[in-house]
Symmetry: C2
Subunit: 520 residues, 2 copies
């Protein structure tokens, strides 16, 4: 079979979701496979209509998936190449991404310069790295801690590789404020409180959030109990013009796409290095057009950051990078010894949020206090607000009902959910196994129990806390109630709780002092 | 959709070759996907017939690939689970492999102990690591250099995780000898010469080799020009009983399977750390039952090892690990400034080998000398041979024709190839662009040209060297001849040669001294 010119193949969509990795499916009898000596997992360059994408090759032995003259593309790859089925394409061995030399220098432990970081992130954002190369990058940058300027370059490169929003005409030089928590604390739904408060104060706060990845609920999942969160970008900007804010899912805005790709590898590896965390959070915020950010770092034995010195180091790194990239940053180190509020899971957390907005006496005190503190810090970004007045202004907005009205306006603008979603009807309480004072509540354990109960896929599933740190409990008294929609889920979740309920109960009653004293 | 028990699915083979990664294909509408909240790339545990395998999930949107109640398995996964189509199976979130904590400690830069290494390699061999986790392991062990005892544990663990051959009854305590080169030098086909020589001397040398991965020919590819190399293990042992040796492909023997899996990730990353190399080579040799090994480390500017100090460090590491694992090891540091022999590519290399065995005056001198040196060192493992006599004994066996007769016996036992394969009929010579003395020949460049010409997929393709180091050449005189079967291949290969022919030609004639002097 002489082959004088690269043979063309016809494109066919193979409807397999390979999660951000481009996969090309070629039949084992495809002349190109035989002539070029491709092996499965080889990286290939697919060219069609002037576009080139790189993809990992899977070799197919079934004519029903692809035929010998066809080039199958996974759903992501097909969308990325963006030409129709039946279109002609050629396949060749992929050249290594231009940044692969920089990757190897990072693996060898070298410091990379600005151009290196931009080259790597451009290749990552264009999906030119395989999963294996992505994992190599993530581990290499994790193992040899990045220096501060490398984190600046990484962050800047991640911003440059995506879309960047500009609210300038709308705010006429005023601040575009945002608030972010590094995560790890179940029930910590302060965003849904600070957005109505600070937008009622007249500040612009276009909040886009993620869905839960490993947690029982993200802000987007919880807001979705009340309103639409998946909105086209044009509609979002219109809502922000009308109401000063929004609480929406950020997945459609193409902000810092390299970050999403890196997270798809960091998550299965459970790696979360300071440099990656800072670059991930700040690149998303700056790309979203924020000029001022309050950042929440909870500290506690089962939080992401477990000691005050570690929190201080992380704070300095955030501050250094923010300063270089012209973002006004106020870092808050907060109490992470237990979940915030009572509910864990979308419906239960939405209930807590609405109770705070309604000034309901049953509203969880800690969620209310934390939201007021954060909103106060955001309000103090307003040049017309005196230092120290933010908290009082936030409280007035909440107590006057203006925050609730503002939330209702945002919900109406995004599209109110018609049928209210209720907490899961199957419940079981988990009792205290000893008497004493609640000392700490394991965030990871409670998150895992809530996930086994079905959250966030089942919005009404989760855990409702009936005792918090400092509460005195008696043996047999319920610590929390598990909600589920399905019997098997309830059984799995309570089974895990029986092994370890996640509560540390001490006979002594030495809780309640500043959390800093007890952080290890 | 209440779900009280894990739902069973019916297994279906999805005929996609995913190259050692287990992939499970579930339809997006599969009740299990919806209930358990699986996402693409999640790791799942597949259970059927008492067996459990872990797999990466791909979500399918096409009923023709899998239906909602089916569990599709990639070819590797289907073979590994080893139950028929239509068999019932359940799917659950995979527990993290037990060794994942050790992996994280390695990423954090810690030294791992014996139990950690064995746990990791057990999980790798059982395909419980995803590609991402494998890449993380490879980079982590590359970035923080392993200490010598860690390499011992890694090697030992790799042996323990696979099959181990024992030739004890056959040799009655005598040596089982082998020879290995760390690679990187095209044309270096000494194995096909030392096996007939040392087995003619009466030593047991059951040689299993690899196919080419990134090179233009492996020993298995070259031997395949002359004889069958894919033989069932039982037949191999029978051949070794009859002839003392064999020259076969080692891929079927399940020796050190973790090594094969790790290589599938190291190769695309082009990572080759000393610790991984030592563990890879020694685990394969010890698992194959070798008691004595001659190891060849070529040094040169385009070899894997580029300086004499680096070669010495690698030698010491090999010696340390071999001593701990009871392998008698003799390390040879050899000249790696140019390819060995004349031919590069399976057919051309087989021609060189046969010329040496036939004592043909046209046989390449350097290949003959290197083979005699290595065979001599192996023969000196024989307790009855005086130190220093090995080379002479090897030469006598070669010159007397006994080596050729022995090679013919091995070829006949493995199954002679009927039709001789000829060098590619399309040829083009690459001329010298200046006059002078050949100083070095770039191994990587020549390997790449030979691969573009079609080797090893097209056995007759490759490069035939017409000038070697120390030869005096004139402008326009041919340096080498490219052989190909297809016009496009010839064009690609000669196109690369035109950019850079890989030859360094100096006007001075200062070559020919000991290679150690010229190693950088």
């Amino acid at each position: 079979m002489p082959m004088d010119e690269p043979q063309t193949l016809r494109i066919r969509q193979v409807r397999i979701d390979t999660w951000r990795e481009n996969v090309a499916y070629l039949h084992r009898n495809c002349p190109v496979v035989r002539a070029a000596g491709f092996q499965a997992l080889a990286k290939v360059a697919v060219r069609a209509n002037g576009m080139t994408i790189s993809a990992v090759l899977n070799v197919v032995d079934d004519d029903h998936i692809v035929q010998a003259c066809e080039l199958g593309l996974s759903e992501d790859a097909f969308a990325r190449l963006n030409v129709g089925e039946g279109h002609e394409a050629t396949v060749a061995h992929a050249e290594a991404p231009v940044s692969i030399g920089a990757l190897h220098r990072k693996i060898a432990g070298e410091r990379l310069d600005r151009d290196d970081w931009h080259a790597i992130i451009r290749d990552v954002a264009a999906a030119r790295y395989s999963k294996i190369e992505l994992a190599a990058f993530v581990v290499a940058t994790h193992q040899t801690e990045l220096d501060r300027d490398e984190v600046v370059h990484l962050t800047d490169a991640m911003i440059a590789a995506g879309r960047r929003l500009d609210w300038g005409t709308q705010v006429r030089g005023g601040p575009v404020v945002d608030k972010h928590c590094i995560g790890g604390i179940p029930g910590n739904r302060t965003s849904m409180l600070v957005v109505p408060i600070v937008t009622a104060h007249g500040m612009l706060c276009p909040k886009t959030s993620s869905r839960a990845i490993t947690s029982p609920a993200g802000t987007a999942d919880t807001m979705e109990v009340l309103a639409q969160v998946e909105l086209p970008f044009e509609r979002l900007t219109q809502i922000v013009r009308e109401t000063n804010g929004c609480i929406a899912w950020g997945g459609t805005a193409e902000l810092s796409p390299a970050d999403d790709i890196l997270i798809s590898v960091e998550r299965p590896l459970a790696l979360d290095s300071p440099g990656q965390m800072v670059a991930s959070i700040l690149s998303k915020k700056i790309a979203a057009g924020s000029t001022h950010l309050v950042l929440d770092i909870p500290v506690g034995p089962s939080a992401k950051v477990r000691s005050m010195p570690a929190a201080q180091r992380l704070k300095k790194l955030f501050e250094y990078v923010a300063l270089r990239l012209n973002l006004q940053l106020d870092v808050v180190i907060s109490d992470g010894r237990q979940p915030i509020g009572r509910g864990i899971g979308p419906v239960l957390e939405a209930r807590d949020v609405m109770r705070v907005l309604q000034n309901d006496p049953d509203a969880p005190h800690d969620l209310r206090q934390k939201a007021l503190m954060l909103a106060g810090r955001m309000i103090e970004f307003d040049p017309d607000v005196r230092g120290g007045d933010g908290w009082r202004i936030a409280r007035d907005i909440l107590e006057s009902g203006r925050a609730l009205a503002q939330m209702q306006a945002i919900i109406a603008a995004q599209g109110e959910r018609q049928a209210p979603v209720l907490p899961g009807a199957l419940t079981q309480e988990v009792p205290a196994t000893r008497s004493g004072t609640v000392h700490t509540i394991d965030n990871l354990r409670l998150a895992r129990i809530a996930r086994l109960a079905g959250a966030p896929q089942v919005p009404g599933a989760g855990v409702d806390l009936l005792a918090k740190c400092g509460d005195v409990v008696k043996t047999g008294q319920p610590l929390y109630r598990v909600h589920a929609a399905f019997a098997a889920d309830l059984r799995f979740a309570t089974g895990l709780a029986e092994q370890d309920d996640g509560y540390r109960i001490d006979e002594r009653a030495d809780i309640g002092r500043g959390f800093e004293d007890s952080a290890p």
